[in-house]
């Protein structure tokens, strides 16, 4: 699949303005650019787990979606779209529908890694022809920045606050992309906002047009929860990739492919430093925490490279 940047930008907008996400939100940047993966003329039904995106993009009677849209509940975006896709198959089979529809559902990391995990797992295992997109900002931002199983180690959240006896979240984040890949679905990919969205666009298009279940994990920074300077989102994403904290990879029919390897892997502290949620790691005496964090990034990066080396 080729990528013509200007032609891609020239496509009709499928997320209307007037939604109520925060200024500078990474979530809607992810949504807009995923939806550009849809071919013009193809219709879509968009699903959505409860979260910031849902309460802000369909606040009655204002829907920001230019396609059909369904929000059901927090933990069932996978099952809900399974039903919609089942309806599509049934209506096509019975000759009641001729148009081509694609099915894409969005969930934050809370709705995806945690409470919606079973529903997602079921939808993936049954291999419905749909795409589940997780816009991963590493915490329950809608309810006020509580930790999720996607929250990185040591992050300061409202349920893992830094204190005299606490360095933030004690556990590492769950590797959800690998878990979904273990479902043996046709397509899994991880991406974020880099390379003028080439990586994200190509992966979205592949995910949408690969028959069967597909999963996209997109790092989508949250300026409130991460406490960085709002206009710096693109720089934050770039550092996530250049430090190998957020590697770009895909798993196609079970084959792991590394999409980008930095020429010079930057230390993870370059990614952490601009973020207020990691401020405590840069206090004197906490150098060992940064070392621990770096060790975990290195371990995961080596593991990923090993997986991708087995052609």
């Amino acid at each position: 699949m080729s990528y013509n940047f200007k032609e891609t930008m020239n496509k009709p907008e499928r997320l209307a303005p007037g939604h109520r996400m925060c200024a500078g939100c990474g979530g809607t940047i992810a949504v807009r650019n995923v939806l550009r993966g849809l071919h013009e003329g193809d219709k879509a039904v968009i699903g959505n787990a409860t979260g910031c995106l849902e309460v802000s993009t369909f606040t009655y009677p204002y829907t920001a979606w230019e396609d059909s849209y369904i929000h059901n509940a927090f933990e069932n975006a996978g099952a809900t779209l399974s039903g919609v896709e089942g309806a599509y198959k049934a209506l096509r089979k019975k000759g009641k529908l001729n148009d081509t529809y694609k099915f894409i559902t969005f969930g934050g990391d809370g709705g995806t890694y945690d409470i919606g995990f079973q529903s997602l797992s079921g939808a993936m295992e049954r291999n419905h022809d749909l795409v589940y997109v997780c816009y991963d900002n590493g915490a329950y931002m809608n309810t006020g920045i509580q930790r999720s199983s996607a929250t990185p180690m040591y992050a300061d959240t409202t349920t893992t606050p830094v204190g005299s006896e606490s360095n933030g979240k004690p556990q590492n984040r769950k590797d959800l992309a690998a878990i979904i890949a273990a479902h043996d679905v046709p397509y899994v990919a991880q991406t974020t906002f880099v390379q003028n969205f080439k990586d994200l666009h190509i992966k979205s298009e592949k995910a949408i047009y690969t028959p069967g279940a597909a999963f996209l994990n997109i790092m989508a920074p949250c300026p409130r929860g991460w406490r960085y300077n709002t206009p710096d989102i693109m720089e934050i994403c770039k550092l996530g990739v250049e430090t190998c904290y957020w590697p770009l990879f895909e798993v196609v029919e079970g084959k792991w492919i590394l999409n980008y390897e930095p020429k010079k892997k930057l230390p993870v502290e370059d990614f952490l430093r601009p973020q207020g949620r990691f401020k405590h790691l840069f206090k004197k005496g906490n150098e060992y925490l940064l070392e621990e964090f770096q060790k975990e990034v290195d371990r995961r990066w080596e593991e990923l490279k090993f997986r991708c080396s087995r052609a």
């Binding site: 219709k43 039904v45 699903g47 849902e54 309460v55 802000s56 369909f58 606040t59 009655y60 009677p61 829907t63 979606w65 230019e66 396609d67 059909s68 849209y69 369904i70 929000h71 059901n72 509940a73 933990e75 069932n76 996978g78 099952a79 809900t80 779209l81 399974s82 039903g83 919609v84 089942g86 309806a87 599509y88 198959k89 049934a90 209506l91 089979k93 019975k94 529908l97 001729n98 148009d99 529809y101 079973q118 529903s119 797992s121 079921g122 295992e125 049954r126």
Partner: protein, 393 residues
């Protein structure tokens, strides 16, 4: 031409579904409703239906997928029991508030704990305020007939509310009885095609379902939802009349058995009504004027109609197959007593909790209830109104 057969309640419901051929059926197994998706899966496997059968990973997902499918414009169905219904709780409210016409076959079973697989009504009684239509059956024939009528009620343009077609676990679902089935084509013609108005897969106009509602709208939304419920009783009666035309079997909001001159009556739901009818037959032979009201439509509750039917009754026993933990009785007891109060009825009323977790109810037990009513009439005092039947003391 009707066909006579011998079937269990689950098999009868599954056959009705084969005749209806719904678009989408997400399913998850739970005793005692499991047979419904099992039978149906074999219809799918043998090409007797062209339904999308989705074997999901939980009841929460079966109702979530049914909501998705229904919102998408498909005729949707699922089945469950007990804890499965409890696990769907959140989705029941969402299906109803989205005004999605879909059908749930509920095979009533006790809720945990302790875990128990046998019949009582604690599952559906807990869901009575979820905004669903609830319809109950005494036997497999009624379960089948209610299933055939379900979509006509739920999809009616003045209603558009999901419907729960309930039958008693094992007693009705697994016991094999004589039944009269309708011809496939008669059912298809009766149920008709589904034509939704606003739905996700409408190529001419997209739709957005499931908004966030700020306080300015929420209360108005709930009142708007309640309006649909107000039309249900009339639609149930209209559909029943039409159904009688093809089946010869008459249905109302509830069945009155020997009520014309009854001095004492029992109000109950489900299979124990058959036992109660036997008790009434025995008592009538002795000249005792006993009667029964067997509720078919429980939500919405036909309050004024029931009060009217009880107008001349001196004492009534309301039978709840579920605890309410109110210290003064169960949910049906509360509904009937408030109906009597609003109608300024004179009847003395008591409320029995019975049959929990499959506890057997015998003809003699029901004779005992009428004996108690007789005593209440004689004494002119209801005494303790919150009673248990069939409990080891």
């Amino acid at each position: 031409m009707a066909k006579r057969d011998r079937l269990s309640g689950n098999e009868a419901v599954a056959i009705a579904l084969r005749q209806i051929n719904p678009d989408v059926f997400p399913a998850f197994p739970i005793t005692p409703s499991t047979e419904i998706p099992q039978y149906f899966a074999s219809f799918v496997a043998n090409g007797q239906v062209d339904t999308e059968f989705i074997p999901v990973e939980s009841e929460h997902s079966s109702m979530s997928a049914a909501v998705g499918a229904s919102a998408a414009g498909a005729r949707s169905f699922t089945a469950t029991s007990s804890c499965g219904l409890a696990y769907m709780w959140e989705e029941l409210y969402i299906a109803a508030s989205n005004r999605l016409p879909l059908v749930l076959a509920l095979v009533n079973r006790a809720l945990s704990g302790p875990i128990n697989i046998n019949c009582d009504h604690s599952d559906s009684m807990g869901a009575r305020d979820a905004g669903w239509i609830q319809m109950y059956a005494e036997n497999n024939q009624e379960a089948y007939d209610n299933m055939v009528q379900a979509y006509r009620i739920s999809e009616h343009k003045d209603v558009r509310i999901p419907i729960m077609i309930c039958q008693d676990g094992f007693i009705t679902s697994h016991a094999v009885e004589n039944i009269e089935l309708l011809e496939d084509q008669d059912v298809k013609d009766f149920v008709g095609e589904y034509h939704p108005e606003t739905y996700l897969l409408n190529p001419d106009c997209p739709a957005a379902v499931g908004p966030y509602s700020i306080t300015d709208y929420y209360m108005e939304a709930k009142r708007n939802q309640a309006e649909g419920m107000k039309h249900v009783s009339q639609v149930v009666l209209d559909v029943a009349k039409e159904f009688e035309g093809i089946s010869g079997r008459a249905y109302g909001l509830f069945e009155e058995y020997c009520m014309a001159d009854a001095e004492m009556a029992v109000v109950m739901i489900g299979s124990a009504a058959g036992t109660t009818k036997d008790a009434i037959d025995r008592l009538r032979e002795k000249g005792i004027k006993a009667g029964l009201i067997k509720i078919r439509l429980y939500r919405p509750f036909p309050a004024s109609e029931i009060a009217e039917a009880l107008k001349t009754v001196k004492a009534v026993a309301i039978m709840d197959r579920a605890e309410g933990y109110t210290n003064h009785g169960g949910p049906l007891g509360a509904d009937v007593m408030s109906a009597l109060y609003r109608a300024h009825a004179d009847a003395l009323a008591v409320n029995y909790i019975y049959g929990l977790g499959g506890r057997d109810i015998r003809v003699e037990d029901m004779e005992g209830v009428f004996e108690a009513l007789k005593q209440i009439i004689e004494e002119g005092d209801a005494g303790e109104t919150y009673r248990y039947l069939g409990l080891r003391e």
